[in-house]
Symmetry: C2
Subunit: 199 residues, 2 copies
DNA sequence: CCATATCTGTAGCGAGCACTACAGATATGG
DNA sequence: CCATATCTGTAGTGCTCGCTACAGATATGG
């Protein structure tokens, strides 16, 4: 079998650029013209590699979560539930105001409501946000077993709470809140965990 | 001077319908065709009354905030900062899962990131979210003077915190979180105010 | 009743959208 | 070196978008 002409662009580097465009303009606000220009390729290459606009988004989301996996592991490996919450929210405050990225979080900025024909884009983003919440919940179940969370604590509720605060910080970051403002929110939010801790 | 033919539709009723469409599909996801059909009018009537799509959004936002003004007054009139927070978050949980409305909050769902040409839509929404935060901050300044908040409490930080949690709940509601889940988040969030209270 | 002013519905405008047909280029398998 | 398979760039496709020209309808002021 013949192999055909090889691809001339680096898919991961192109995805990084696509990620940025989706992050800044949202799924519907990002146009194929903007995406191809940022990626340095032409439309046929995009469609050959990723199928369509939604396929490109999914690939970009995969890369987004893969890139954050290391950081998330660091968060979950904190010694106590309280420290998990602090690392999570402080890290979120910093990354959402990192000048190297668009403000906020791609999983929120990407699109909460979409027009007819893109209904499952919000769904896709929500599913990925839920993954983080699941990890947090399981970590808090463990914290309860290990005793650093009170026996009356509700791991699912605490994980949901952290998920909500992160998303809310993303909304604020997207509308210009600076790092100090987000850290303030993080600091206030963490207090909940001190009240739920045994130490 | 001649007066011209009078308008045949009720502008407020039409705005209620437009609000719904923007709420469910976001600013960019909502099309003029969907809007005019929901409003029961034709494009020329829409443009004569509201100027353009963005003007219609602003009018719908005005109506949205006006409709919530009463509720907000009830929130702010709670006796203590802690009760303000509870009414705010519980009311938010209920309204964001009210089956009579699309899920979430129009000021979040409307659009966090937009395409070229609609850049100030997110700005417009953010400005209106900031108004609520301002009201909360001033209410907490008063609570501090009145002594039901500790003297070490930071009214601005607490207001920002409530604003972030509300926005986060909106994100969760938009992705299908039910009323019970949001109330859980509200309950956890309120604990911060118990720790900051003197009673 | 007439002149004027505004609203309404039909029909369609140019622009920009996501997406693709096609031809030339570049690799592999035989 | 040839046949095949895939990628690349050019140049579009049809469609839907926000928006509007126009003509008919309906009110007021004189």
């Amino acid at each position: 079998m013949a192999m055909g002409r090889p691809r001339e662009f680096d898919a991961d580097a192109a995805l990084d650029q696509a990620m940025e465009v989706f992050w800044r303009h949202g799924y519907e606000g990002a146009t194929i013209a903007q995406l191809t220009e940022a990626m340095g390729i032409n439309p046929p290459s995009l469609y050959a590699a990723f199928g369509n606009k939604e396929g490109l988004l999914k690939a970009a989301l995969d890369r987004y979560t893969a890139k954050r996996a290391d950081w998330m592991e660091g968060v979950l490996s904190a010694p106590t539930a309280r420290d998990v919450a602090e690392r999570m929210l402080m890290g979120t405050a910093d990354s959402q105001t990192d000048p190297d990225n668009p403000p906020g979080c791609l999983l929120v900025q990407g699109g909460l409501a979409c027009g007819t024909g893109s209904e499952n884009v919000p769904f896709e983003l929500a599913a990925r946000r839920a993954l983080t919440e699941d990890q947090l919940r399981e970590r808090f179940v463990r914290a309860k077993k290990e005793g650093d969370l009170k026996q009356t604590a509700d791991p699912a509720a605490l994980a949901r709470y952290l998920s909500a605060v992160s998303a809310g910080m993303g909304v604020m970051a997207s509308s210009g809140a600076d790092r100090e403002a987000l850290r303030q929110v993080a600091n206030v939010s963490v207090k909940v965990f001190e009240e739920q801790s045994t130490t």
